[in-house]
C-alpha cells in the first residue's frame, strides 16, 4: 500500500503547502488503572478485558487513514495496572519518550499521575474521572478532560426533567464518597435549573455480592419499603456511582414515578445503539475491529486520540504542548457523532459536548435541551461555568 501512496505525497504537499510538509510518527499511550470492585449488578455491564484500549485501536486506524494522505503515522501502546503500580507504569511510558497519555483512573490517582507527567512535559487526557474539583480548583494545565464531569451529567438529566416539567425530585443516593459527590451534583443541578428536591434518602452500601440466584425476590420485598413514604415527587433521581442499588429502583419504587440518574434514564457520552449523526459508521467500524459493543470508556479514549489526531492534522506537529495549545485555540473543532462540533473550554480544559440520555436500549434524548441558552454556547449550560470556576492553571 505504502509504495503506491508515496509518489502521491508530492501532490498532497503541493496542495496542502507547508502544513503537510512534515512526516510525523505519533506515539501515544493509554494507561488504565484497574480497581478491585465487586461485579456489576447486570451481566451486561461486565468489564471487557480491552475496555478503553479498544477505542485506542479504532482511533489509531481512523487517524492512520487520514495520516496516510499526510505522511503521519499513529501508534498507541496500552497499559493496564493495579493502583499501586500506576506511578511505575506511567514512568515506563514516559521513559519511552511518549508525551501524550490517555488515562482511565479515579480522580485522586489521575491528579497524581498528571502532576508526575507534567514534570516530563507530557499531556494527560482524562477519559473517565468525573470529579468536579478536577475541573475547578484542582485543575492542571497539562490535563484535558474528555470525560464529562458529574456536573455535566447531572445538568443533562436536570434539563430534560425540567423540560418535561418534572420538577419535584426524590433524591436517593449511595453512601460511598463517589455516590455522595454525584448526589451533590444533582442538588446543584436542581438549584441551577429550578427543580426542587422534595425528599432525600441514603441507601447504605453494606457490601456483599450484587448478583445472587433469585436475588430479585428479596429486592422486590425491600425496595418498596425503602422508598415508601417519600414526600410528593414527579421523579426519583438515583445517585449511585458505585453501581450497587440504582438498577433495582425502576419497578420497585413505591410510587409510580420514573427513575433517572444512575438508572432508568441515565446520561452517557456514548452507547452502542446510538445511530444519529452518522454514528452508525462508528458502531460498525468498532464492532468489526473488536467483536463487541462499544462502552463509554472506549468512546472517550477514541475521542481523546481523535483530538490528538485532529490537532496533528491541522497543526502539523508532534509536540505535546503545541498540540494542547492548538486543541485549546479557537481554531480547534471536531466532529464526534453528536450533531455539533466539540471544542474545549479553554479556561479549564474540559471538552464541551452534548450528553446522550439513554434508557439502556436507545437514545431517548440529547442535552442541552431546546431553550437552555448561554452567551458562549448552549453546551456551556452543562457543567461548571467560567464565572463559577476557581481554575487558574489555564490563565
Amino acid at each position: 500500500m505504502r509504495y503506491v501512496l508515496m509518489p502521491l505525497l508530492a501532490a498532497v504537499l503541493a496542495v496542502l503547502g507547508a502544513s503537510g510538509a512534515l512526516a510525523l510518527d505519533l506515539r501515544a499511550a493509554v494507561l488504565r488503572v484497574d480497581y478491585e470492585t465487586l461485579l456489576p449488578i447486570s451481566r451486561y455491564d461486565l468489564r471487557a478485558e480491552d475496555l478503553g484500549f479498544a477505542g485506542a485501536m479504532l482511533a489509531d486506524e481512523d487517524n492512520g487513514t487520514t495520516g496516510r494522505f499526510l505522511g503521519h503515522t499513529y501508534e498507541t501502546i496500552h497499559k493496564a495496572t493495579a493502583p499501586e503500580g500506576a506511578d511505575a507504569a506511567l514512568d515506563e511510558i514516559l521513559g519511552q519518550g511518549i508525551s501524550l497519555i490517555v488515562v482511565l483512573a479515579r480522580d485522586a490517582d489521575l491528579l497524581r499521575l498528571a502532576d508526575r507527567a507534567a514534570e516530563a512535559g507530557a499531556l494527560v487526557l482524562n477519559a473517565s474521572a468525573p470529579g468536579v474539583a478536577l475541573r475547578d480548583e484542582e485543575c492542571r494545565g497539562n490535563l484535558l478532560h474528555i470525560a464529562p464531569s458529574n456536573a455535566m451529567m447531572a445538568d443533562a438529566v436536570a434539563q430534560f426533567a425540567v423540560w418535561k416539567q418534572w420538577k419535584r425530585w426524590f433524591l436517593v443516593s449511595g453512601s460511598n464518597p463517589a455516590d455522595i459527590e454525584l448526589a451533590e451534583a444533582y442538588r446543584k443541578a436542581a438549584r441551577k435549573f429550578g427543580a426542587k428536591i422534595t425528599d432525600e434518602k441514603t441507601f447504605e452500601d453494606t457490601g456483599g455480592a450484587r448478583r445472587t440466584d433469585s436475588g430479585h425476590v428479596l429486592v422486590q420485598r425491600q425496595l418498596p419499603v425503602f422508598t415508601q413514604g417519600a414526600e410528593g415527587h414527579d421523579l426519583l433521581i438515583a445517585a449511585d456511582a458505585s453501581d450497587y442499588f440504582a438498577r433495582y429502583l425502576g419497578y420497585h419504587h413505591w410510587s409510580p414515578r420514573p427513575v433517572m440518574g444512575s438508572a432508568g434514564l441515565w446520561p452517557t457520552t456514548f452507547h452502542a445503539a446510538h445511530e444519529a449523526w452518522g454514528a452508525t459508521q462508528f458502531q460498525t467500524r468498532f464492532e468489526a475491529l473488536t467483536g463487541r459493543y462499544v462502552k463509554p470508556e472506549d468512546y472517550n479514549v477514541w475521542l481523546a486520540l481523535r483530538v490528538v489526531g485532529e490537532a496533528v492534522t491541522r497543526a502539523s506537529t508532534d509536540d505535546a504542548m503545541a498540540l494542547r495549545d492548538y486543541a485549546l485555540s479557537d481554531d480547534f473543532e471536531l466532529a464526534a457523532f453528536k450533531g455539533q462540533k466539540v471544542t474545549f473550554r479553554n479556561w479549564n480544559g474540559q471538552l464541551r459536548q452534548p450528553i446522550l440520555l439513554y434508557d439502556g436500549m436507545i437514545t431517548v434524548s440529547v442535552s442541552p435541551q431546546d431553550g437552555f441558552l448561554h452567551r458562549v454556547s448552549p453546551l456551556d449550560t452543562l457543567g461548571l461555568d467560567r464565572p463559577e470556576s476557581a481554575c487558574s492553571a489555564f490563565n
Partner: protein, 328 residues
C-alpha cells in the same frame, strides 16, 4: 386514483397547447426511514405514486436517458435499479458495503459510489454490473462530485475531513484538500473552474479554484449567520450551482433554510425558509425550480429559482433523504 389517471393526459394536453410546450418531469425522492421512493409530477406537484425502494434508500440518481433510476439501498449493501416508467425493480448493482451517495458519468456507464463503512470509493460498470475499481479514501466517505470534463471524481470523507481528487483515467488519488469538519457534499460549477465542498459540523462551504489541469486551490470558506438561529444548527449539506454559475444554493440542515449565495462575490444574499432538516437539493432540468428534501417534516419544498422564494411544499414518504429529477 381513477381521477388522476384521467386528469393526467388532460394536463399534458393543456401543456402542449401552451406557447412553449413543457413536458412534465418526474422527481424521485428517496425516503430513508420509509424504505420507499416517492414520485412527484414537477408540473402539477402532485404525488404520482410511492413504491418500495429497498432498505434505507439514500443516494438517488438517474441514467442520462432518464429510463433508469439508481438508488443506494444502504442497508442492503447494493444499488437498486428501477424503471422510471413502471417503477419495477429491473436489477441490482454491486456497490460495496453501505453505499450512501454516488455520481453517474454522462454516458451512464459508470457509477462512482461512496462506501461509508469501508473507506472506499467503488467504481461500478452499470452495463456489465461489475466493480471496476475500489479506491481507498479517508474515513467515512460520503460526498461525491464529478468534474464537467469527467476527468475527476471528488470524494469527501466525513471523519478525515478531506476532499480527495480521484483521477478517472487510473482511479488514483492525485490531490487531497483539508476542509472543515464532516464534509458532506462536493459540487463543481458547470465550467469546471470552481468546486464547492460543504462541511456540516464545521458550518462552512469551502471554495476551491480548479486549474486547467484539475489541481485545486482552496480560496475561501463561506460562512453563514441567521439572526435567531443558533450557529450550531447552521449545518451545510446539499449544494447546487446554476448553469451560469450566478447562484449557489446551500441546504442548511436543522436551520431549516436554504442559503442563496452570489456566484461572483460569494456573499450570502438570502436565506429561504424551507421544511425541517433540509439535506439534499435538485434542480428541474429547466432550472426553474429547486427541490429540497426535508427529513424531519417529511416533505419537499419547491423553490422558484428566479424569484428565490419557496412556493410550495409536497408531502412525501418518511424522512426524505435524496432527490433527483428526470432529464428532458
Amino acid at each position: 386514483m381513477k381521477m388522476r389517471s384521467v386528469s393526467r393526459p388532460l394536463t399534458l394536453a393543456l401543456a402542449l397547447l401552451a406557447a412553449t410546450p413543457a413536458l412534465a418531469n418526474k422527481a424521485f425522492v428517496s425516503n430513508e426511514r420509509g424504505n420507499t421512493i416517492t414520485v412527484v409530477d414537477t408540473d402539477t406537484w402532485e404525488v404520482i405514486t410511492e413504491f418500495p425502494g429497498g432498505n434505507r434508500p439514500r443516494g438517488i440518481t438517474i441514467s442520462p436517458d432518464g429510463t433508469k433510476l439508481y438508488v443506494c439501498a444502504s442497508d442492503d449493501n447494493l444499488v437498486r435499479v428501477f424503471d422510471t416508467e413502471t417503477y419495477k425493480e429491473i436489477g441490482t448493482l454491486p456497490s460495496g458495503p453501505d453505499p450512501e451517495l454516488f455520481v453517474i458519468s454522462s454516458d451512464g456507464k459508470h457509477l462512482y459510489i461512496a462506501n461509508e463503512d469501508d473507506n472506499l470509493v467503488t467504481v461500478t460498470d452499470t452495463e456489465q454490473g461489475v466493480v471496476l475499481a475500489e479506491v481507498p479514501v479517508g474515513v467515512e466517505p460520503e460526498g461525491m462530485g464529478i468534474s464537467p470534463d469527467e476527468k475527476w471524481v471528488v470524494n469527501t470523507s466525513e471523519t478525515t475531513n478531506m476532499a480527495h481528487f480521484i483521477d478517472t483515467s487510473d482511479y488514483k488519488i492525485k490531490h487531497n484538500v483539508l476542509v472543515d469538519q464532516r464534509p458532506r457534499y462536493a459540487q463543481y460549477t458547470a465550467d469546471g473552474k470552481r468546486l464547492f465542498v460543504s462541511s456540516e459540523i464545521g458550518g462552512t462551504v469551502s471554495v476551491m479554484d480548479i486549474a486547467p489541469d484539475g489541481a485545486p486551490t482552496l480560496v475561501t470558506k463561506i460562512e453563514f449567520e441567521v439572526p435567531g438561529v443558533l450557529p450550531e444548527w447552521l449545518q451545510p449539506v446539499g449544494v447546487k450551482v446554476t448553469q451560469d454559475g450566478n447562484r449557489i444554493f446551500v441546504a442548511l440542515g436543522p436551520a431549516n433554510r436554504v442559503a442563496v449565495i452570489d456566484g461572483e462575490s460569494l456573499e450570502v444574499l438570502d436565506y429561504i425558509i424551507v421544511g425541517q432538516r433540509v439535506w439534499q437539493l435538485a434542480f428541474t432540468p429547466d432550472e426553474k425550480y429547486l427541490l429540497t428534501t426535508n427529513g424531519n417534516s417529511n416533505d419537499i419544498t419547491v423553490i422558484d429559482v428566479k424569484a428565490e422564494k419557496a412556493i410550495k411544499s409536497v408531502q412525501v414518504g418518511q424522512q426524505p433523504w435524496g432527490v433527483v429529477v428526470t432529464p428532458n
